[in-house]
Amino acid sequence: MSDTQKLQDLTTQVRRDIVRMVHKVNSGHPGGSLGCTEFLVALYNEIMEIKDDFTMDGIGEDLFFLSNGHISPVFYSVLARRGYFPVKELDTFRLLNSRLQGHPTTHEGLPGIRVASGSLGQGMSVAIGAAQAKKLNNDNHIIYSLHGDGELQEGQNWEAIMYAAGNNVDNLISTIDYNGQQIDGATKDVLPLGDLKAKFEAFGWDVLDLHHGNDLDAVIKGLKEAKSRTGKGKPVCILLHTVMGNGVDFMMGTHAWHGKAPNDEQLEKALAQNPETLGDY
């Protein structure tokens, strides 16, 4: 089996994990999770340099920060299937006494989570701090972060965007999940984001438009390109054009599935579109 096929299988399995997790507890955020599946699968399995022992001191490896913490289902599934914690633990998502909280936390000591997120707009600042710690430690690794596009309505992001460029934080790749949707509707209707590319560039970032954010090969190519642009004095931004709910036809392209779980019938439909590949948890 080719490496590409393996990653495709993993992507399909992660999709199954996502819809099964939110279905079981009748809560959680499938839309953004499904839209970012290719990105996180590619990042953790093709792009990032990760220590084999999964120690969490943050030294000597690439690090990832999820700012839009509500897409925890995809994050948990990708972390578990990468080896950070047992895959069967996905079955505890959002349950009492679980390490898999509704939004990711460090509080329960789940390996792979480096900061709590969920209250939006904070992750880029944390990623910048981690990037600057890497520079102080002469640790030549990259910090990755992921943010919702609607999340950019939070002002702290623009403090961080200004700071990262002004301080040449060029070991940072921040990706925006550019799906054009948020809880109350399309971002263009709720609060238009304007020309994001021009905005990031005006602040001094190197911006890469990644048009096929749900095409695994395109994502890998784009992430490699972004990586090649680090170390050149500018922070790097990827505008990752995705479809919310990607891979489950009735969830695609609408804000309706931002934070809603499928019922039994919808689950069956979703799973039929994403056949089991690596074994359900």
């Binding site: 900061v115 209250s119 701090g129 430690n137 702290q156």
Partner: protein, 317 residues
């Protein structure tokens, strides 16, 4: 009443600056962040000696708290510096999620706390910060009383693993604690042994309680005085031991009586030894412009107010 003297009046924020200078020389993991208030926070020497370990954030406190949280990943010990108002209320959710809930080893260092910020007025005079910070699970809250104690506290918190809120002030105040006094987080300092009333003070009100103790001694009243520099965790043992002797308490702080030291003491007493208590604190009000001394007089945060509160609480015994 034990005699206290001082050779100079100096601001507690300079104690913070001196502590940072020493940490810069002794602890390579300590880094400093500041939101455009380097001069006010007195950290110019740290920056001069360790330019690579200083991060000028600009006027962006929310970003500063997040960056501080991130810097801990990789072993740094970040000290953030700005005014108390901008260190707490402005960035409460950033502290709550990225620092406290995430248990990041960040030291939030807050100058110009309370009314003694003075002329800038109520927009900058936070009187709610102790309450905000002590309610956060895992947060240590420290409010030292003079230059020497602030310097010692600054050095001590670098050794403490976990988030800390360190609160200090703007005006020059008597520097009366010994320079070599060991700073123990969570341990009250006994200022005076007495038998009639317990005075529990924090920050700038510790010196005022010494003055009050001297006045009370003239009236034949013996005050047991505690300097509570650490509001959380609170030294319950010292409080209960003192109250067992005296049977009544006055708490004194430059903070709203809601959410401050006084309420923390009242909780300890209610649970263990219900005791009459009077609160020297601001009475659920904002401040205003004025000199520090004028404001402390107007809002009743001085030795006379403490003496008055003692007279009142003694009658309730």
């Amino acid at each position: 009443m034990k005699k206290y003297t001082y050779t100079e009046k100096i601001d507690t924020r300079s104690g913070f600056g001196a502590g940072m200078t020493e940490l810069g020389r002794t602890n390579p993991n300590v880094v400093a962040l500041c939101a455009d208030l380097v001069g006010s926070l007195k950290i110019a020497d740290f920056i001069k000696e360790n330019p690579e370990r200083f991060f000028q954030i600009g006027i962006a406190e929310a970003n500063m708290m997040g960056i501080a949280a991130g810097l801990t990943i990789g072993g740094k010990i970040p000290f953030t510096g700005t005014f108390a108002n901008f260190s707490t209320g402005r960035v409460y959710d950033q502290i709550r999620q990225s620092i406290a809930y995430s248990n990041k080893n960040v030291k939030i260092c807050a100058s110009h706390a309370g009314l003694t910020l003075g002329e800038d007025g109520a927009t900058h005079q936070i009187l709610e910060d102790i309450g905000l910070m002590k309610m956060l699970p895992g947060m240590t809250v420290i409010n030292p009383c003079d230059f020497n104690q602030t310097k010692a506290a600054t050095i001590a918190i670098a050794e403490h693993q976990g988030p800390v809120y360190l609160r200090f002030g703007r005006p020059a105040v008597p520097n009366f604690t010994p320079a070599d006094q060991k700073f123990e987080i969570g341990k009250a300092v006994k200022i005076n042994d007495g038998t009639d009333v317990t005075i529990i003070a924090t920050g700038h009100l510790v010196w005022e309680s010494i003055l009050a103790g001297e006045e009370l001694a003239k009236q034949g009243i013996s005050a047991d005085i505690l300097d509570i520099h650490t509001i959380k965790p609170l030294d319950q043992e010292a409080i209960l031991e003192s109250v067992a002797k005296t049977g009544c308490v006055v708490t004194a702080e430059e903070h709203n009586y809601l959410g401050g030291l006084g309420e923390s003491v009242a909780r300890v007493l209610a649970e263990n030894n219900p005791t009459p208590q009077e609160f020297v604190a601001t009475q659920d009000t904002f401040g205003e412009s004025g000199t520090p001394a004028q404001l402390m007089d107007k809002y009743g945060l001085n030795s006379e107010a403490i003496v008055k509160a003692v007279t009142k609480v003694l009658k309730r015994k």
